[in-house]
Point group: C2
Chain length 146, copies 2
């Protein structure tokens, strides 16, 4: 079992690595290959939940539409916990790049990714992307460093 | 295995139900009994991550210090996915109550809870609590309805 877990963890890490490469090159198909068709996403933007891969695809298409290529996306401190066919991971991801209006942007998001092993493939069945809220001002804190 | 999963899911739902009761009565010890000692939490307030049960306890103590009793905490649309000893759940939780200054508050948060079965007990090893961000204003959206 320990060997299978190690194989699975290496597989998930490899899939996430390829997913980040797809994000950076704005390869939407590559990005989508990590998601389960029935993903429920709590994304950075409203509404409270985005149901289904199509909704998630639209969100990434919107992001790609805002940035010049390449997008900067870095996964930091990824911690994975695996069961037999369920796993979860969390990390602090740095998003950076040049907007189409020329402005640079650079911020960190909190990311939880919950996986199911479906037909031998580890896919994200649920994820959550967010930044904390400043309790005084009610503003989203896009300037925090890990 | 299907029977064990059903037993485990019923157990997690029961634990979450008791946890909500503890939240509403501001029973800090009861609230903490659901968390693993080494929990890593991406909470609604900064910093980006809160490491360890003590940090999580401090966050709840702060919340309890802001509200009059009882606190309103309702878990809506809880979806659970279980493996043998790893599980995850997500829901849209309604927080409501009267602040100590007399103001009423009522908002929905996105919640992901990631569980490990440790010595036979399902404990939250990681969670994330957030609200979406309005992309125009940069404000945290505390007024969204599911």
């Amino acid at each position: 079992m320990a060997i299978q877990r190690a194989i699975d963890e290496a597989n998930i890490r490899q899939r996430i690595k390829r997913w980040v490469e797809a994000l950076c090159t704005m390869d939407l198909e590559g990005v989508m290959s990590l998601y389960a068709p029935d993903i429920v996403s709590f994304d950075l933007v409203p509404p409270l939940q985005h149901v289904g891969a199509k909704a998630k695809e639209k969100n990434w298409a919107n992001v790609f539409g805002m940035f010049q290529r390449p997008l900067g996306y870095e996964i930091r401190d990824l911690t994975l916990t695996l069961g037999d066919d369920v796993a979860f991971g969390h990390s602090l991801n740095r998003v950076s790049g040049t907007l189409k209006n020329g402005n640079r942007t650079d911020f960190s998001v909190q990311w939880t990714a919950c996986f199911r092993k479906i037909d031998g493939n580890w896919l994200i069945a649920h994820d959550q992307v967010s930044v904390p809220v400043d309790p005084e001002s009610g503003r989203a804190l896009l300037n925090l460093e890990p």
